[in-house]
């Protein structure tokens, strides 16, 4: 296997590799020809997306597509000189790998077309992927081809090279002695090979310090375990075992765990069809997160009040036997809520789970651990293992580092990856501190840290470099490169090897040698297997036996739990767009709306309607937030269901030094984030009077009509478990078949594709949107155009609030083309550019479309997207490498929409035929959205086969068609959202 990698990497650099094999019509002759043919349109032609676009415009130019053939651009075919094992031109290859974020790894499988990675999928073998990924991992592929990546080794902005740098380092290293002046700053890593190198470095430079810091981290979780059990541990949850889950300021379905595992496990308990009773989720949180949206009961509380809530809950449960002092803050409604929750928990001892979010202080985590212990959940729904990364209080370490830098005790500072200057606590002016020393920045793009460093080194993308990573439970995977570094970047691992003075510096050798030393004898076989499976056998950490003495722990932590001061506080959250800023230059993520606010290309200060009313603030009013003598400006946005007197801020915006996509997008809130209020803390709020345009993809956020005040009932169906049980007894209600003017078309034969989307599983995590974008070459249009209502997503997530504005419930509804059998769009198209396939897919022939937009007007689901402008006009060459070769890139004036990933269907069909004309198996064709969905909310298949999963789901009593009475006969139907309320709280 590795020979294969070596081979295909040694052949050509990624770029040429791709150019040649994809036979891009980009030869000089061709360009000349184009200019000759279209003097006026030529410019547009030449930079308009891939050649697909070119040819489409030519077709247009000649009026009749066929005529293009009469002018024949000379196209070259450049076959490989020498073969590559296993490579068949036109057949994608799949390699297992793994990437990590915030010290947690997820296993991936990357699809490579003709040598260029084009699509990311989850690795079913990996415990934290289970075949799914989140939106960010889908978008990583775009970062790989980011034209604004760091491309060149520089010294203070002056072009230099690796050789020069290495000689500089050897020079510097010789003066380091015991390494007292050496500091290394890196993101949290859970890499065995790197740990080994750390050890070597520590041996070589005993007084050097390696600081690990992430803007979003699990420090407090691990600390909490230390408080409770006396040793730093990482909790491992089993949501699938929990009948009752209580999440205290923990968005475990969203951004508080960067993996698919919790969602998979949780969603498994939301399907009554599978026999297991529905679990019940209580959420207590300041912000309205997707976890809160999934909750059966939700309590709004400021982040600083969570401690009080936890303590009150602990008392209700009588965890210690002794009476607890309860902080004020838990008010009347809270008391009722907590009493009910406690009762429910006690009723489910050993089958319940309480957890707190990484924002909460260690004491709360300790208390939560205690509660779980009291409920007998330890070992059942939650167990503890050692953390995959070196446990440390990174804030303290960073403080120490700042001190050392300020005092000039540091001679050489390595910043290996991440963007510390941007994301480190605002107590210090890090740019200044960096300039005080010889700072070496290994950075992926020319970010703030890069700008502040002496030596500027381009970092390799995880898809370009060898490495190994541990998942949260310790499971290790080999990080396998998919393509040679496009811009000669190197990985942190390789730099570490340089620092450690290792002879071999290639990532491959480092990783290979480490694991060979681990395996000994049959290393080769194990290595092959590790690469093939993407996980390494027997590396998962065993659960640690833990026992805490309740009284002692409580005595220890109770003084630490202070009553929250009244007044407004700010809470820092990772962003759905940029996470902590690392995806700021990723257009896919910027344009994918926040699941709750539907905001794009921006962050905002989220506050509750009541607070907004009190402050006299409306959407778009720019606020000045100040704390600890620091000020930031951020536009306000009112979010129904947000806790009062609390303002949620998303990290990772307002990047000063960033690529063309992310530069100056949003507002930087890190400026307010100091050690004291690293996660949350009190703040002053003032209206600046300025206005700022926030753009959302959803104008109206409830199903209640304005003017009439009526609710629209046939869009989203919701039942309580009780109602559903009763309904199920009567079986699925079939609507009276309306009498049609014309005879039905016969869809009874062959494959008939259909889809079922489970609103009860969908958490609205956006993964499907990004996966669809990657699979179908969906263009990005930018903030202004989205503001005009011209976003291009084929699948979108409609979010509807219900109930009172201050404390509503929310439901997410993925909405893509529902493939109506009686499609309103088809009958109105004058050129039959959209017609039906005999298999029930509403097809869109881009090259036929003339662009009347009548179909868009007549689509009741408004899922059709029109290329109002040439969105691919300014796509840089390198960026084109991400295009999926199986899907046409659309030009302006063309309508497009979801087609059930017909390219995937056709691929499987021809495969099935080649294999002795066997039928396509159920589950063989996965649409991009289905494949990525961590909640398995989307099921696609042949509805003509009664045994197919989709057919079975469609027989459920909660299966319904959106806007059924229009008689469009959609092939995509929905499974109603179920709620499992606690009788005592309704």
């Amino acid at each position: 296997m590795n020979e294969l990698i070596q081979l295909n990497l040694s052949n050509l650099t990624g770029r040429k590799y791709w150019r040649s094999l994809n036979q891009l019509a980009d030869t000089p002759e061709f360009r000349q020809w184009v200019e000759r043919e279209f003097p006026e349109g030529a410019s547009e032609l030449l930079d308009s997306g891939s050649r697909r676009t070119l040819l489409k415009l030519m077709a247009a130019g000649f009026g009749l597509a066929g005529l293009t053939a009469c002018r024949r651009p000379v196209e070259k075919i450049l076959p490989l000189s020498k073969g590559v094992e296993g490579y068949v031109h036109g057949r994608p290859l799949h390699y297992a790998t793994a990437v990590q974020a915030c010290g947690a790894a997820t296993g991936l499988i990357v699809e490579c077309n003709d040598g260029r990675p084009t699509k990311v999928e989850g690795n079913p073998r990996h415990p934290f992927s289970l075949g799914a990924t989140n939106a960010f991992q889908q978008a990583m592929i775009l970062d790989l081809y980011d034209p604004d990546r760091a491309r060149q080794v520089q010294k203070q902005g002056v072009k230099s090279g690796w050789a020069q740098f290495e000689s500089w380092w050897l020079e510097a290293a010789s003066k380091l002695g015991d390494g007292a002046g050496l500091r290394i700053l890196s993101p949290r890593t859970a890499s065995p090979s790197l740990d080994a190198l750390k050890a070597e470095i520590a041996k070589k430079y005993p007084n050097s310090v390696w600081v690990e810091y992430d803007a979003v981290n699990f420090d407090r979780v691990v600390e909490g375990a230390r408080l409770a059990f006396g040793q730093p541990l990482m909790p491992q949850y089993r949501f699938d075992q929990a009948d009752v889950v209580v999440a205290l300021d923990c968005d475990f379905l969203g951004l508080d765990t960067m993996t698919a595992q919790p969602v998979k496990q949780f969603a498994a308990r939301r399907r009554p069809e599978e026999g297991r009773e529905l679990n019940r989720l209580y959420a207590v949180e300041p912000n309205f997160t997707v976890t809160g949206a999934m909750a059966d009961h939700r309590l709004r509380a400021r982040a600083s009040d969570i401690a009080a809530v936890a303590l009150a809950l602990a008392r209700e449960l009588n965890v210690s036997g002794a009476e607890l002092k309860v902080l004020d803050g838990a008010g009347g409604r809270q008391k009722k809520f907590l009493a009910a929750v406690a009762k429910d928990l006690l009723a489910h001892k050993g089958r319940s789970l309480v957890l707190a979010g990484p924002r909460q202080p260690a004491e709360v985590h300790a208390l939560v651990a205690l509660i779980n212990q009291a409920l007998g959940n330890l070992g059942q729904t939650v167990s503890y293992t050692r953390p995959p990364f070196a446990p440390a209080d990174s804030l303290a370490a960073v403080r120490q580092l700042a001190g050392d830098l300020a005092a000039g005790r540091v001679t050489v500072l390595f910043a290996l990856g991440g963007n510390p200057v941007y994301s480190l606590p605002a107590d210090h002016n890090w740019a200044e501190l960096f300039r005080k020393t010889a700072a070496v920045a290994l950075a992926f793009d020319e970010n703030e840290t890069w700008k502040a460093a002496l030596w500027q080194l381009p970092e390799a993308h995880p898809f370009e470099a060898w490495g190994d990573v541990r998942a949260l439970d310790g499971t290790a995977s080999i990080q396998q490169p998919q393509i040679q570094p496009l811009f000669g970047g190197r990985s942190a691992l390789e730099i570490a090897a340089l620092i450690a003075g290792r002879p071999q510096r290639r990532g491959y050798d480092i990783v290979r040698s480490y694991w060979t030393s681990q395996w000994g004898a049959d290393a080769e076989k194990k290595w092959q297997q590790a690469l093939y499976e993407g996980v390494i056998e027997g590396t998962r950490f065993p659960a640690v036996e833990v026992k805490a003495d309740a009284a002692r722990v409580l005595a220890a932590i109770q003084p630490a739990l202070k009553a929250a001061p009244a007044g407004i506080e700010t809470v820092f959250y990772p962003s759905w767009h940029t996470f902590d800023g690392r995806f700021a230059n990723n257009a896919w993520m910027q344009e994918t709306p926040d699941p709750m606010t539907k905001l794009v290309w921006d962050n905002a200060a989220l506050l509750s309607p009541a607070t907004a009313r009190r402050l006299g603030v409306q959407d778009g009013d720019v606020l000045e937030l100040s704390a600890g003598g620091r000020q930031i400006h951020c536009p306000a946005m009112v979010l129904p269901g947000h806790a009062d007197d609390s303002i949620s801020l998303q990290l990772g915006f307002g990047r000063a030094a960033c690529g063309r996509v992310g530069r100056g997008v949003g507002h930087r809130v890190e400026g307010l984030r100091a050690e004291a209020n690293f996660w949350f803390g009190p703040a002053e709020v003032r209206r600046t009077g300025a206005k700022y345009k926030l753009v959302t993809t959803q104008e109206h956020h409830t199903l209640i009509e304005p003017i009439t005040g009526l609710k629209r009932n046939n869009i989203v169906e919701e039942f309580t478990v009780e109602e559903y049980r009763r309904r199920a007894e009567h079986g699925k209600h079939e609507p009276h078949p309306p009498t049609d003017l014309f005879p039905e078309f016969d869809y009874s034969k062959g494959y008939q594709w259909g889809m079922a989307i489970d609103l009860n599983a969908c958490i609205g995590c956006n993964a499907c949107m990004v996966a669809c974008t990657a699979e179908n070459n969906i263009p990005v249009v930018g903030k202004e155009q989205v503001g005009k209502g011209r976003e291009m997503h084929w699948i979108r997530l409609d979010r509807y609030f219900s109930g009172e504005e201050d404390d509503p419930q929310a439901v997410m509804q993925p909405m893509a083309c529902v493939q109506c059998e009686k499609a309103p769009c088809e009958s109105v198209c004058p050129v039959a550019a959209t017609a039906h396939s005999p298999e029930g897919i509403n097809e869109m022939a881009y090259n036929r479309c003339v662009g009347t937009r009548y179909c868009l007007n007549n689509c009741p689901y408004k899922v059709r997207r029109f290329n109002f402008l040439n969105w691919n006009k300014d796509v840089p060459e390198i960026r084109k490498m991400v295009f999926n070769p199986d899907v046409t890139v659309r030009m302006r004036g063309v309508m497009e929409k979801c087609n059930y990933c017909v390219q995937r269907i056709e691929e499987k069909r021809s495969q099935a035929k080649a294999e002795g004309r066997r039928p396509i198996r159920d589950g063989e064709v996965l649409t991009a959205c289905q494949q990525v969905c961590p909640a398995d909310a989307i099921v696609f298949g042949n509805i003509n086969d009664p045994e197919s999963r989709v057919a079975k789901l469609k027989r459920q009593a909660r299966d319904y068609a959106v806007l059924e009475e229009l008689n469009t006969k959609p092939r995509t139907t929905y499974l109603a959202r179920l709620r499992n309320p606690n009788p005592e709280l309704v």
Binding site: A60, A832, R853
Partner: protein, 468 residues
Amino acid sequence: MADLAIDPRMELNPPLVQGGMTYSDVTDKISSIVEGKAPKRWYIGMAVAVPLALLLFACLGYLVATGIGVWGNNSPVGWGWDITNFVWWIGIGHAGTLISAILFLFRQKWRTSINRAAEAMTLFAVACAAIYPLFHTGRPWRAAYWLFPLPNEYLHMWQNFRSPLMWDVFAVSTYGTVSALFWFVGLIPDLATLRDRATTPLRKKIYGLLSLGWRGSATQWRHYELAYLLLAGLSTPLVLSVHSIVSFDFATSLLPGWHTTIFPPYFVAGAVFSGFAMVVTLMTLARWIYGLENLITMKHLENMCKVMLATGMIVGFAYGTEFFIAWYSANQYERFIFLNRAFGPYWWAYWSMIACNVVAPQFFWFQRFRTSIPAMFILSIFINIGMWFERFVIIATSLHRDFLPSSWGYFRPTWVDIGTYVGTIGLFLTLFLLFLRFLPAIAISEVKGVLHQQVSAGQAAPVHGGSH
């Protein structure tokens, strides 16, 4: 039409041709417009119209080069000003055909001195209208695919004839063609007159060629009259069909606010309404420019005011019916869309429409307004505006808030939208002024026919002796 059916005997009184004109006076008066120098007012008109027409071409060029994105159209509002203007222009066209065809069949002799200009107006309006369906795709060259069912060896592909847009293509092109034929046939005898009067050889050649050698022989007149009758007979159902079919673009969709059965009659009435308003606007202008008081008499204008009053009431009634049906249907979406029109974000458009289309024409109950040039001019402008708003309201307010609240939006026009619209008005006026300048704006032979009846009724002096 009932209120217009003038008794054949009464129609001559007051006489349609006034000022005791003779046959030759008629000839001289009308021909002089073409033969004499253009008045200053004509140049003023052109000075306004031509730059606007150029603006149109600038905007279209920009559109084609850049894409539909330069307009305000978006999702959900896929059609904005483009189709609004299209329907508006087509509607305006209707008055011409109606006057020349339907009133002809109804033997409404008073039509004679306005029908020629009205038909010209039809042609130019249709020309302006046709621009929009062609350019609203942003890639007009693709029109080759869909405007004509071209058999071709490359694709084996055909249009989808179930699509109302396809019906539109046929309806509008047929309408344009037939109107043009009708108009030209009417012109032939008058062109012959101009030929015979021509003083310069060039004019003689040009008008000679255009008049195809017409001699006015009894044989020619015999076929000619039948042909004219047939064309009128064909145009009448045609003109009714065109706006019915345009209304199908909306009526056959399933969008609340579009999906309704009263559209065909409602659209036709609206078309006639706006058409007559435009005729009045233009006629009052033509009168002002060329002083045609004796030919375009107050009686013509007053009758047209009556037509506007009648059609205005029909349209107003239609608005009411829509609301009633929306309520009566008990369909939530239907109800909402109409309430949203009146009280939603586009309330201003809706109420402007009501004010201009329902309130304004009520003034025509009073003869004082029906016979006052300034009054009818202003009111006709109001009605033109109101009818534009009607189309905008139907299109934009129905689209911007349809079924799924998640995909609701709002439409804002860009400067290109505005430029394109104003531009077509410029093009229209340019063409009309050129027409006034170079072609007989009034049907000479027809007026003489009417005059002859007056003569035989002893109401006019046909000749003062032989004019040697």
